[in-house]
């Protein structure tokens, strides 16, 4: 079953490569995505036993990331059919292949218990995405791709060094050298603290680059801003979660090793720094896709804080992981529609979206509330859980600073997004003639609906998965 | 004497006495000016004559214009039932009546000013604006005084505050009461549009307050305005007299006579002030009113400090 999970996307990529017809090729994506989603749901319902000598296990954290990625991918795939119909002039072979491969790599990352394999999978997602950022083939997109490629490669190289350190920690401790999670967790208490520290730092920097924790986030606005919307959605909702999964794994090892104070402080500090950076850049941000990138930095920072605080915040953090992915999907897909219609993503060149594109406009508006943690969206629940835990733990300074930053970020986002959405559409604005269709407005709408649904009703199995995942990250007394 | 007799006296005094005060003031002013002056009862004649006259209404005006003097008069009459006179509680004394008392005047003011604006004349608008402005500046001073009285007497009604106002209070809180009496006198003059705030006899519209507001009233309406104004003077004067003349003999008739006498005395004092002082520059008026508030605020602080 799990093998199928990884091979379906790979097969999809192969088929996409083989299909010569630019017009029909995109259809392969929803097929792949649909099959993958069904399989994921089946796997969640009936967890398979460990495979490949314990290398491949679908544990609760993996399940959560997999579920989020699979849902997001399916709707992005549906969207891609509608989107690519507007981009007939470009060959979409690389795009279709890259997306499928990326899904495969994400699935692999979710199920791998060997940290080396996890690293390979995450690195593969980075590589698979690079050509997609360059889809628009202009000077700005090539610049963004180059920055993405180089910074992420360096980051991921740091993560590799971190993994080596982790393995070396076992060598120094005279244990069987391994990067398999289960033995590492058992051996953790005796691991050399210095090397474990080093491993944590390098992995944090490595995966932190991948998920875009400040000040390692520098590639993010460029890549998110220049990539097509659906690529942005997958970067922000899929790849970020993968990187976060990597951080969760090392966090698990650190927890098992005992003394976690530094790890948690480092995560909290970087999380706060990310939110601070995001707040600075969100204010007066004139490019609404870059705005979304900084919002992603903010949310990654928030999750890092949640993970760093641990205890009661974990449940909310993991739930937020899922919600963040879904809302980012909504935002990027609708932002792409708006971009398409106005041929611009600058706030001064876009007005009156609610009049011109009512569906995209209203979805974008709702997503503004969703992404800023307003009830009744699920992001509210997860943000509130984390905040509630911050305050009940008595960390008043952290709590108040997070709230202040939330306030600044909401202000910034509202100041940029509301004038775009409202106002009067004018003759001075470009109009490409794009109109919302079922396949371009439907997927973000469905994603929005899911966030809304999760905000008023969390299915019991989901609660179970998140609960089990949080339990894995909890400090054992 | 049974209660109803006292109430009867109260009502009779309220209804009949006020125009006399105006007469006394005018007589005093005439004395200072070296004139014989009009008879003491001249205000009564004036009002009766006006009441019998016909009316002239501006085409601009609406029913609000006619309602103005009537509401003001009704509100002042209602207020008269709350103010204790002589050594007797008012017919309708209850906890918090002092606030109702002050707010009834507010109601009267609202309608007087509205009636003035109803004429569409810029002069009457000007007068209305001044009336509204100055009276809201006088309001805190009055309330500081009420706070002082409430604190001293531990009572929440005008009757409780003013009827039990023995001389000993003056020994205890002399300084504070002196400040307060000063403030109250300023309020008394300002609220009743006397010199130095306003000149009831002037005919230069640009400098008037109350008189300019009622320029367009005529006949019975004007009679109601004049009567209402004298009643207001009477009521505020009673408040002032209760504090400044804290002699209560216990003999009912004596107390009533003493009250009436001190009211007349007050009218003489007002007349004297009007004769000896010049009218203030209009821009100075707010300053004087604010200083009245400050005076009574000081009085309040002194009293708060003194009472445990």
């Amino acid at each position: 079953m799990i093998a199928l999970l990884i091979s379906i996307p790979l097969l999809g990529a192969l088929v996409a490569w083989l299909i010569p017809d630019n017009r029909r090729r995109p259809v392969i994506l929803p097929l792949t995505g649909g099959a993958h989603l069904l399989l994921t749901l089946a796997l969640l319902a009936d967890t398979p036993p460990p495979a490949l000598g314990g290398w491949i296990v679908l544990d609760p954290i993996g399940k959560l990331v997999l579920l989020g990625a699979s849902i997001l991918f399916f709707f992005c795939a549906l969207y891609s059919v509608g989107y690519l119909a507007y981009r007939k002039e470009r060959s979409n072979r690389v795009l279709c292949m890259g997306l499928s491969l990326c899904l495969g790599a994400i699935s692999l990352a979710c199920v791998s218990q060997h940290l080396g394999l996890l690293w390979v999978a995450i690195e593969s997602t980075t590589l698979a995405m690079a050509p997609l950022i360059y889809f628009n083939r202009n000077a700005r997109s090539i610049e963004a791709t180059w920055k993405y490629m180089l910074i992420c490669s360096i980051g991921i190289a740091m993560a590799l060094l971190g993994l080596y350190f982790l393995a070396y920690a076992t060598v120094v401790a005279r244990q069987e050298p391994t990067l398999l999670l289960a033995p590492l967790l058992t051996a953790a208490p005796v691991l050399s603290p210095a090397w474990l520290n080093g491993a944590f730092i390098f992995l944090l920097v490595g995966f932190g680059t991948k998920i875009g924790l400040a000040p390692l986030h520098t590639w993010k606005p460029d890549a998110y801003g220049e990539a097509p919307g659906l690529v942005g959605a997958l970067l922000a909702g899929g790849l970020v979660n993968c990187g976060f999964l990597g951080i969760c794994r090392i966090y698990q090892v650190c927890l098992a090793a005992g003394n976690t104070l530094f790890f948690r402080d480092a995560l909290t500090a970087m999380g706060l720094l990310s939110m601070l950076f995001a707040a600075f850049f969100v204010l007066r941000q004139a490019d609404f896709k870059r705005l979304l990138a900084y919002s992603s930095v903010e949310h990654v920072g928030f999750m890092a804080i949640g993970l760093g605080l641990g205890k009661g915040a974990l449940y909310g953090t993991l739930f937020h992981l899922l919600n963040n992915g879904l809302t980012k999907g909504v935002l990027f897909l609708t932002a792409a529609n708006i971009h398409r219609s106005y041929n611009s993503k600058r706030a001064e060149r876009v007005r009156g979206v609610m009049d011109r594109l009512p569906w995209s406009g209203w979805i974008f508006m709702a997503a503004l509330f969703a992404v800023t943690g307003s009830p009744p969206f699920a992001t509210f629940l997860s943000e509130f859980m984390v905040l509630s835990s911050i305050f009940t733990e008595g960390r008043m300074v952290a709590g108040v600073s997070v709230l202040l930053l939330f306030a600044v970020i909401f202000t910034g986002m509202a100041l940029t997004m509301l004038p775009i959405l409202t106002g009067r559409d004018g003759k001075d604005l470009d109009n490409s003639g794009y109109r919302d269709g079922l396949l371009t407005a439907g997927p973000p709408f469905m994603l929005l609906l899911i966030t809304l649904l999760l905000g008023v009703w969390m299915p019991a199995p989901l609660q179970e998965i998140i609960g089990a995942a949080a339990a894995m990250l909890e400090i054992k007394p | 004497m049974p209660v109803f007799v006292n109430t009867l006296v109260h009502l009779l005094l309220t209804l009949l006495f006020p125009p006399l005060l105006i007469g006394v003031i005018n007589r005093t002013k005439a004395f200072f000016a070296g004139r014989t002056g009009a008879p003491l009862l001249q205000p009564y004649y004036d009002m009766i004559r006006l009441w019998r006259k016909g009316s002239v209404f501006s085409r601009t005006t609406t029913w609000v214009f006619q309602a103005g003097p009537l509401v003001t008069l009704a509100a002042t009459l209602a207020a008269a039932l709350l103010m204790p006179l002589g050594n007797h509680p008012s017919p309708l004394a209850f906890n918090g009546d002092m606030i109702l008392f002050a707010y009834l005047f507010g109601l009267g003011r609202f309608f007087t000013v509205a009636a003035a604006l109803d004429t569409g004349s810029s002069f009457e608008g000007m007068g209305g604006a001044r009336e509204a402005t100055f009276s809201c500046l006088a309001e805190p001073a009055l309330f500081f005084a009420l706070v002082v009285l409430a604190r001293i007497s531990s009572s929440l009604s005008l009757s409780g505050m003013l009827n039990n106002f023995p001389l000993t209070v003056w020994f205890g809180f002399g300084a504070a009461l002196l400040l307060m009496v000063g403030a109250l006198f300023i309020i008394l003059l300002a609220e009743n549009c006397r010199i130095p705030f306003d000149d009831p006899n002037t005919h230069l519209e640009l400098t008037m307050i109350h008189e300019v507001m009622v320029l367009d009233h005529s006949g019975p309406g004007l009679a109601a305005v004049l009567y209402g104004a004298s009643l207001k003077l009477f009521l505020l004067g009673a408040l002032f007299v209760h504090i400044t003349v804290p002699f209560r003999s216990g003999n009912v008739i004596l107390d009533w006579l003493a009250f009436a006498g001190s009211m007349v005395l007050l009218a003489v004092v007002i007349g004297t002030v009007e004769s000896t002082m010049a009218r203030l520059k209009l821009t100075r008026v707010p300053q004087l009113l604010i200083s009245a508030s400050i005076l009574s605020a000081f009085a309040m602080l002194l009293v708060l400090r003194q009472t445990p």
Binding site: H114, G116, L117, W119, V120, E123, S124, L127, A130, P131, Y134, R137, N138, A139, R140, I142, E143, A144, T145, W146, K147, M149, L150, S153, I154, A157, L160, L161, Y164, F165, A167, Y168, T170, V171, V172, R174, P177, T178, L179, S192, A194, W195, P221, D222, G225, E226, F281, Q285, R290 | -
Partner: protein, 212 residues
Amino acid sequence: MNTFADQLLVLVFLLNFIVLGTSRIGIAIRVVAVQGMALGLIPSIIHDFSLHLLLISAGMIAVKGVLIPWLLTRAVSAVGIKREERPFLGYVPIMLIGAVATALAFIFAEQLPLAPQHKELLFVPAAIATLMTGLLILVSRKKAISQVTGYLILENGIFIFGLLLTEAMPVMVEAGALLDLLVGIFVMGIIINQISQEFSSIDTSRLSSLKE
């Protein structure tokens, strides 16, 4: 055998300095190729012979010594540039910094709680120094190709550390890492090509239109 490995590592140090000091991109690529080959030899030298090691060595030499340099050379000839011009940091200062970094690497390695069997070896200082060299090049050079060489040197540094753990690393992972590296460089090569087409230069200092 370890002495031979140490000598190879000394060679690695020297190669680091050559890359730091040269302005010719062709030389830098060749130096990196040599460095990769040298590193590819080490696993077979320090450990007893095994198929596993042989595979790793062969893979390393093939990828780092042959394939990647070939890819880069092709990219260089496609965009037609030879020299790094006016880097952000001059060659002399950067070599001095490199020297300081190497010295620091030795001092730092002394402090580390190494396993007893690794105490005497040059692996850890070499790894740190190479890593720092890679980062220095990445931070100081303007041409995209130079930055790729910097990245390769950085990777080499990490790989040197990995040599201490060859036994711990399953082939699959090693192979995956190498494959990823190869694909990465391949993609970078393509991007460089596109950059030169788009900007008629591969000077990355021009790639700064995306800000704030």
